[in-house]
């Protein structure tokens, strides 16, 4: 059982969860059978308005809402849930406490890292190992209520984390956005593009979000409005940068054969991949835009799934910034390097195009759920339940958690 042992080893690390090995034997053994989200849109509005009596949402209550919705979506009974995997980025209650909160009595409960995508294949490994049959994976984050910022002295010298976050304080260079700004500026200079080209990426993603009533930002904007919006780190505008939001996502998974008898069309976890920048991070980020890592990890996930990039009809990428979504669309091979902006302007990243991308609005418009928010949209699309933004006849989707130095793609297929 070396495969499953290897998969479970990935969980051993506290915090960030490594990807287990990408092996064909583990493909489509586990299916997603239920999804739920908290009230991203309503909670965000309430936090902005802060009417009398407003209180910040707690991680517990947002997780409870997401769990109840996922349970209802799956058609399962509370007693069917025999595993509970909790993922938090900034901490949360023990799984035993959350099980009580959810009214379930799982035989297996653990803290399953935080950001996507490692937690999904690791939980799948527990099912394949026979430790549980149906696991609820719940992610919760109170980013906004905690006043979280992503730059300046919030990453002090010597703090844990990638050195690019704090090492360059004396030059006044900091923040997540600054990474993407250097990438975008080089892209513009190298390929003869500009802000008005890049603006089509967040504009397209926002257009998608306009069809999702739970997306935080739903109001479409024009290129003129994009150009008039304030800069964060030039050349990037406000609309090029992800949101900071509170929320929770629940994903219920089951052994694949059993999933065939459940309420909804199962969505099979078909493949995953892992790749990391190990040296010269600035150069690989800004010059290569992570292409070597995207090719490596994407190749692993596709080979595991027995598919090619041409089979993927839908992509949910990690749009920490608009330019970073372009990095992924190019880097995985949906289009050639340097052609991503023309590809988007040509309508290839929306309905009717080659690869409809970030169909619920992604990190820039839907909610910043550290990759977990990609799953509900993939499940809706593969079930063919996505309403006005449904990709016709979709059979295979890909998600990717792509940070400044890590690439974690997952491939999913419709399981009927």
């Amino acid at each position: 059982m070396a495969i499953w042992e290897g998969i479970i080893t990935g969980m051993a690390q506290a915090g960030f969860v490594d990807m287990p090995p990408s092996v064909q034997e583990a493909s489509r053994k586990v299916s997603i059978v239920g999804i739920g989200e908290s009230d991203f849109h309503l909670d965000y509005r309430a936090e902005r308005e802060r009417a009398d009596g407003w209180e910040p949402r707690t991680v517990e209550d947002m997780c409870k809402k997401a769990f109840e919705r996922a349970l209802a979506d799956s058609g399962l009974k509370r007693s069917d849930i025999d595993g509970l995997a909790m993922s938090y980025t900034y901490g949360g209650p023990e799984p035993s406490e959350m099980a009580t909160h959810f009214g379930i009595q799982p035989k297996l409960g653990w803290i399953n890292g935080h950001i996507f995508a490692g937690p999904l294949p690791n939980a799948a490994g527990r099912i394949m190992a026979g430790d549980a049959e149906v696991i609820a994976l719940v992610f919760g984050i109170a980013n906004r209520s905690a006043g979280r910022q992503f730059g300046g002295m919030t990453f002090a010298s010597g703090a844990a984390g990638p050195s690019s976050y704090y090492y360059h304080h004396p030059w006044g260079w900091s923040s997540q956005a600054a990474h993407w700004a250097l990438m975008a500026q080089r892209y513009f200079a190298k390929y003869g593009k500009g802000e008005e080209d890049l603006g089509h990426v967040p504009m397209t993603v926002r257009k998608h979000a306009a069809t999702d009533p739970n997306a935080v930002m739903q109001k479409p904007f024009t290129i003129d409005e994009y150009m008039a919006s304030r800069y964060i780190v030039r050349p990037l505008h406000l609309f090029d940068i992800c949101l900071v939001t509170d929320g929770a996502v629940c994903v219920i998974i089951s052994e694949a054969d059993r999933a065939r008898d459940m309420a909804k069309v199962p969505v099979d976890v078909a493949g995953w991949g892992h790749s990391l920048i190990t040296q010269d991070k600035m150069k690989v980020m800004i010059e290569d835009r992570l292409r070597p890592q995207l090719q490596d990890a994407g190749g692993q996930a596709l080979r595991m799934a027995g598919l090619s990039i041409d089979d993927i009809g839908h992509f949910e990428g990690y749009d920490a910034s608009s330019i970073h979504l372009v990095n992924q669309v190019e880097g995985f091979g949906f289009t050639e390097p340097g052609t991503g902006l023309d590809f988007c302007i040509d309508g290839q990243m929306t309905l009717g195009g080659r690869i409809p991308t970030n169909m619920n609005g992604g990190n820039m418009s839907y909610s910043y759920m550290q990759g977990w928010g990609q799953v509900p949209e993939i499940v809706r699309q593969l079930r063919h339940e996505a309403g006005p933004r449904q990709i016709e006849g979709l059979q295979a989707s890909m998600s990717a958690l792509t940070q400044t130095d890590i690439v974690h793609p997952v491939v999913y297929t419709r399981g009927d």
């Binding site: 730059g151 300046g152 002295m153 002090a156 010298s157 010597g158 050195s163 704090y166 090492y167 360059h168 304080h169 004396p170 030059w171 006044g172 260079w173 900091s174 923040s175 956005a177 600054a178 700004a181 250097l182 990438m183 500026q185 080089r186 200079a189 190298k190 304030r230 800069y231 964060i232 780190v233 030039r234 050349p235 990037l236 190990t278 040296q279 010269d280 600035m282 150069k283 800004i286 010059e287």
Partner: protein, 136 residues
């Protein structure tokens, strides 16, 4: 008068780098086993794992590979916005975050030849010389 800046990273290795700056030199780690030049400072070679890294002077010459300007303030009153930052590919290979001297980002051109210059600065650890880059 010395400019106030957000704090440097200090400690073993980092101090060696800043001491070099104080003498008008950029000193960077070099791996005698694989030839790699890591930056920022590391405890072992990120390419081959060697722990024999040695600091060596580099030329201080390079070319401009990208730039960005902070319009949102991340350092409060310490640094004004807009705030120009650049990234320089040093002739020896490493990509080095810095500030422009003698030009602004509005005048930046991809591939501009640049050379190092040192600016008198001060942070919570004391006075130091900050490497910035001007047209070569």
């Amino acid at each position: 008068m010395a400019q106030q800046r957000p704090p440097r990273m200090t400690g073993p290795g980092h101090d060696t780098f800043w001491e070099g700056c104080g003498k008008g030199e950029i000193r960077m780690q070099h791996c005698p086993d694989c030839g790699h030049r890591p930056w920022p400072v590391v405890t072992s070679c990120e390419q081959c794992g060697s722990e024999k890294l040695k600091f060596e002077r580099v030329s201080g010459k390079g070319k401009l590979v990208s730039w960005c300007t902070f319009e949102q303030s991340y350092y409060g009153d310490l640094l004004p916005v807009p705030w120009d930052t650049i990234i320089v590919e040093l002739d020896e290979g490493p990509w080095f975050i810095s500030n422009p001297k003698g030009f602004t980002n509005a005048e930046a051109k991809l591939g501009m030849a640049l050379k190092v210059s040192f600016l008198d600065c001060e942070d919570q650890h004391g006075a130091f010389a900050l490497p910035v880059f001007e047209p070569a």
